[in-house]
């Protein structure tokens, strides 16, 4: 119950900053439209809506990292977190309280992007729904990364780091180009990290290749669990400083 009360506060903090929220939803849609227009003028298939949509939605999750990182970073630097820590809340209450309010935002991002993709030619079938479910699981990775950043850095630092984070993770996810176009060490590193597998899992489920989803999704879930464990440990350590 305390977790839900805390989550409600966190939800209000995020949605009452509508410009940032709008940017986190509108910007990915804009990118999707731009790349779709580019595809129409290209002689080969690189940004077809079936491959572009899952990548863009995973890209939009970078903003979840920004939102969760900024919120936790600000709570830490204003000592609001100290006040909350002095209350009889449990560690689980904190984690749930920070994660829960970001899930509806992830659902909103997924829904708006899919709606835009339908206008741009994506066919509506069951695999779209399955992709949405897989994407909700993937969103937890980005929320966890935000909590880790917010635990280590201040809100202002998180804002700066986000610019690097969004660029690097999008490159490594193969959203804008296929990794084998570069190949070599870049491709190897990308395949070791979860971002490529996140986009890959969403693409596989949308294309109906369900057997290819499990391995990629397992890697993402593994990284998500690891991220949350590290975030909680660092969080506990920071509070003892």
């Amino acid at each position: 119950m305390k977790a839900v009360i805390f989550a409600t506060r966190n939800h209000k903090e995020i949605v009452r900053d509508p410009l940032t929220l709008l940017f986190g939803i509108a910007f990915p849609v804009l990118m999707m439209v731009l790349f779709s227009v580019m595809q129409k003028n290209m002689p080969f298939a690189l940004y077809e809506i079936e491959t572009l949509t899952p990548g863009v939605i995973v890209f939009s999750f970078s903003f979840l990292t920004l939102f969760s990182g900024m919120l936790l970073g600000k709570d830490k630097s204003t000592s609001f977190l100290m006040r909350i820590f002095a209350s009889p809340m449990t560690a689980a209450d904190y984690v749930i309280g920070y994660v829960l309010p970001l899930l509806p935002i992830a659902v909103l991002q997924i829904s708006v992007c899919i709606l835009a993709a339908l206008f741009l030619g994506l066919s509506l079938d069951l695999s779209v729904l399955f992709m949405g479910i897989v994407l909700i699981v993937i969103s937890l990775l980005y929320i966890g990364l935000g909590l880790l950043l917010g635990t280590i850095f201040t809100d202002k630092q998180v804002g700066g780091i986000f610019a690097i984070f969004v660029t690097v993770t999008t490159w490594l996810s193969g959203t804008w180009f296929q990794l084998d176009m570069i190949g070599g060490a870049f491709q190897s590193i990308a395949q070791l990290l979860p971002f490529f597998h996140a986009a890959d899992a969403a693409r596989a489920v949308l294309s109906g290749h369900y057997e290819d989803v499990l391995l990629s999704l397992a890697i993402v879930v593994g990284y998500t669990a690891l991220t949350f464990i590290i975030a909680i440990l660092v969080f506990k350590g920071k509070m003892q400083e």
């Binding site: 305390k2 009360i5 805390f6 506060r9 209000k12 903090e13 009452r16 900053d17 600000k74 630097s77 204003t78 000592s79 609001f80 100290m82 006040r83 909350i84 820590f85 002095a86 209350s87 009889p88 809340m89 509070m239 003892q240």
Partner: protein, 241 residues
């Protein structure tokens, strides 16, 4: 006895932040814990609030150990941290309700308690304003009011008037005087006139150790100094870390 501190020590690698602190604070007492920067005041408060684990020693708040029974301690205390520590996008009344709900109050109880605290702290006319739009003085009032929402038996005020103008500071003093006797208050501050106006008893820390303990009059007669400022300077003289 409301607070019994027994040989409380906090060590960070080679640095001893609080060194073997023993001290008793009576029920309803307004106690000021003074010292220069890095004297160990905030670390002491953090240990008493269960935010930082002591390296050795223990403290008992309303009979509950900060080492062995933190939840019981946290149910009896509250803190207004050094920074204002308010939720910036929540209104005044929402901030107050949030605190009550986190301490297990029902919605109705939270509402009643919020109205009572807004009355005491002169916040009724600003109840629907977002906390981030309040002046520094009102943010501080809100911060202390939030700490009072759980009806704590012990209230920790860590530099509550830092950065406030003279009028706002005097207004807050007048509110704090109303709390005297009803709740045990532990205050840290750098403003000695604040201590002279509010405190029943004073503890002066230096380099993590308790250098002096008593009423202002007792300390003045012990040191033979004509003003409390001279007493403070005398007792905090020597090598600072």
């Amino acid at each position: 006895m409301t607070i019994e501190i027994k040989e409380l020590t906090k060590r960070y690698k080679d640095h001893v932040a609080v060194d073997n602190l023993s001290l008793n604070i009576e029920k309803g007492e307004f106690f000021a814990l003074l010292g220069q920067n890095a004297a160990g005041k905030t670390t002491t408060i953090k240990m008493l609030c269960g935010l930082v684990a002591p390296t050795s020693g223990d403290a008992f708040l309303e009979g509950a150990s900060v080492v062995h029974n933190q939840i019981a301690v946290k149910n009896n205390i509250n803190i207004s941290p050094q920074e204002t520590a308010v939720a910036p996008n929540l209104t005044v009344v929402e901030n107050l309700r949030l605190m009550a709900r986190l301490y297990g109050y029902s919605k109705i109880q939270a509402e009643q308690c919020a109205i009572a605290q807004m009355n005491i702290f002169g916040l009724l006319t600003r109840q629907h304003e977002k906390a981030k739009t309040l002046s520094g003085g009102y943010k501080r009032r809100l911060s202390v009011a939030m700490a009072m929402m759980s009806t704590p038996k012990i209230l920790f005020l860590d530099e509550p008037t830092l950065g406030m103008d003279v009028r706002a500071r005097r207004d807050l003093w007048s509110i704090l005087r109303q709390l005297k006797g009803h709740v045990t208050i532990v205050l840290t501050t750098h403003y000695l006139e604040e201590v002279e106006v509010l405190a029943d008893r004073v503890g002066i820390m230096h380099n993590g150790k308790l250098r002096a303990l008593g009423t202002i009059q007792q300390l003045m007669s012990q040191t033979g100094k004509p003003t409390f400022e001279d007493v403070f300077l005398e007792l905090t003289e020597g090598e600072s870390r």
